[in-house]
Symmetry: C2
Subunit: 338 residues, 2 copies
């Protein structure tokens, strides 16, 4: 199979040297290299550790903003407007749109072009969708790595957009310094359940599509929930926006910036960076463990045999897991000592 | 702190003997015992492996149906209607409503009473919400265990309702024999992204709130996506319903039953049971590994030190994970040999 272009092919062929070259081009801010590095991340390629090792010392400079909320809240348009606001201040913007539900990779690029047409051709903006469903090591890991790539490439601000309200999206968005949760009026009965879950991750609430009936009620309900809940020094502000008309956008951007200032002036910023490093490390450890489990699969008494024992109800899942865990660990230890 | 009632307290106090007694009461179909067993699961209590070990040989008899879809699709009302249809045929029904976004546990019970008022007092129905956000070992594990409890307790059909479209919900709903995906007309732009992701998990599509504008278009779009996608022998039927009026409900139930018949008459049923056992085993293995990682945390060169090294950018996450993995494995092996 021939690679789509020569450069990608040479990255693969050259192994570690190719990874180093690609990383250097990312550090030089070359968009094609940035795109390729994110593709390697998306694919879970074995070059990723080497690429990241080289980029990592140059990370930690970008401001990372996560934007999440239920489907249909108008997040993409809002992200575009926020990016434009930062661009007017002369800041460059990297955007990672995480779409856990899409099984398509290449297709997402066409989607970006359409959804973010106004900023797509701006050289100070880099947009990338990641369709990481089923990706090795999961969504949160791939997103953190992609954010590092954009950070190392020198983008001043990185926006991470996720669709949804599940644990995956929460994990993804927790990689951000500041999290905006976008809601719209009248999303139905389940909205209360969503609100309960996102209260603890939101630094800023955006009630988008404010021209719709019920936006004042949505704001009032959120304010009431905040009154009833425990929050630290920072009480998440609630901003009404209309991403299509642009109403409320300056206030939304100001709220995001105010939270950034709060982080810099309090212990909260350091606490979050610590928490983020920890969960990233845990995710990578788990990926390594999964790989160790996979190697036992075809062995007698391995993963396959234990699976059959559960299906046949000869062994319950907890007992099978206890037995197999010992096996995986002793095997990994043998490999380590060899 | 005193336990809320004596029975729960004795379960805790007696350890293994208490777990066995509770399991026996579940096998006898006692609702209070069922509720308590699920509470232990929700809490990630250390009694769970013992309870499950005793219940497991009596599982595998219930028919398990998963019902998922975005917030606001009217899933709870639909679940209630489907349960009523099964009840009219004399079948008992257990319902697990998985609400990953709710941090409340006790509160969910009041919610059940309101949402499913028509069936809540039927002794042939057991309803339980699980608010497992942040639960040890995750949502999918807790749900599988709760389904086992209801299965072992003798419920003919177990309905698993999840809110959302993320990977978590997909994992939860994959524990079912048959998966119904519920959509509503006009949920906005992101609906296409949702559809792409759920195409592969849906055995039956339900377009609910069919009285709304756009329901025919939603059905036509789904049908077109099915035409364009690869599916096996079973092409997921699309059923229009109005859970509030009851229109289309018999057709929806018939579609679920037809899929159950298809599973019994093909290799697909066995394949799914195998896949389910495998992912359950993997989730339990990962939980064990996480526990092993946690024990290294306070040591020099343990989890905390590695986290600090990442924050300070002295070490990149992949390198730190590689180093710590060796440490965790050699430590677990030492414990095993001792």
């Amino acid at each position: 199979m021939s690679a789509p272009d020569g450069a990608t092919s040479s990255v693969r062929g050259a192994g570690a040297a190719g990874a180093a070259k690609l990383a250097d081009e990312v550090l030089a801010g070359r968009p094609r290299a940035i795109g390729r590095a994110i593709t390697e991340i998306e694919r879970g390629s074995e070059l990723v550790p080497e690429i990241l090792a080289r980029l990592f010392p140059s990370t930690g400079r970008a401001r990372i903003i996560g934007i999440t909320g239920p489907p249909g809240a108008g997040k993409s348009t809002l992200v575009q407007r926020i990016a434009q606001a930062f661009r007017r201040e002369g800041r460059t913007v990297g955007i990672v749109a995480v779409d856990p539900s899409s099984p398509f990779t290449g297709g997402a690029i066409l989607g970006d072009r359409i959804r973010m047409a106004e900023i797509y051709t701006d050289p100070g903006v880099f947009i990338r969708s990641m369709a990481t469903r089923g990706a090795l090591g999961g969504l949160a890991r791939a997103t953190s790595d992609a954010v590092d790539v954009l950070d190392a490439a020198g983008y001043d601000t990185v926006l991470v957009e996720t669709v949804g309200v599940g644990q995956d999206e929460v994990d993804v968005v927790r990689a951000a310094d500041t999290v905006a949760v976008v809601l719209v009026p009248g999303l139905g009965d389940d909205i209360q359940a969503i609100k309960a879950g996102i209260l603890e991750i939101a630094d800023v609430f955006v009630v988008n599509k404010a021209e719709r009936d019920g936006s004042d009620r949505a704001v009032a309900e959120l304010a009431m929930m905040l009154d009833l809940s425990a929050h630290g020094e920072w009480r998440p502000p609630i901003v009404k926006t209309s991403a299509t008309t642009g109403a409320g956008l300056p206030e939304a951007v100001a709220a995001l910036e105010a939270h950034g200032k709060h982080l810099r002036g309090s212990a909260e910023g350091a606490r979050r960076r610590e928490q983020r490093a920890r969960s990233r490390l845990l995710a990578l450890l788990e990926a390594r463990f999964r790989a160790a489990v996979e190697t036992t699969a075809p062995e007698p008494d391995g993963l396959e045999e234990a699976t059959h024992a559960i299906v046949a109800r000869r062994e319950d899942p907890y007992a099978a897991a206890a037995r197999l865990f010992e096996r995986v660990v002793s095997r990994a230890e043998t490999v380590r000592r060899a």
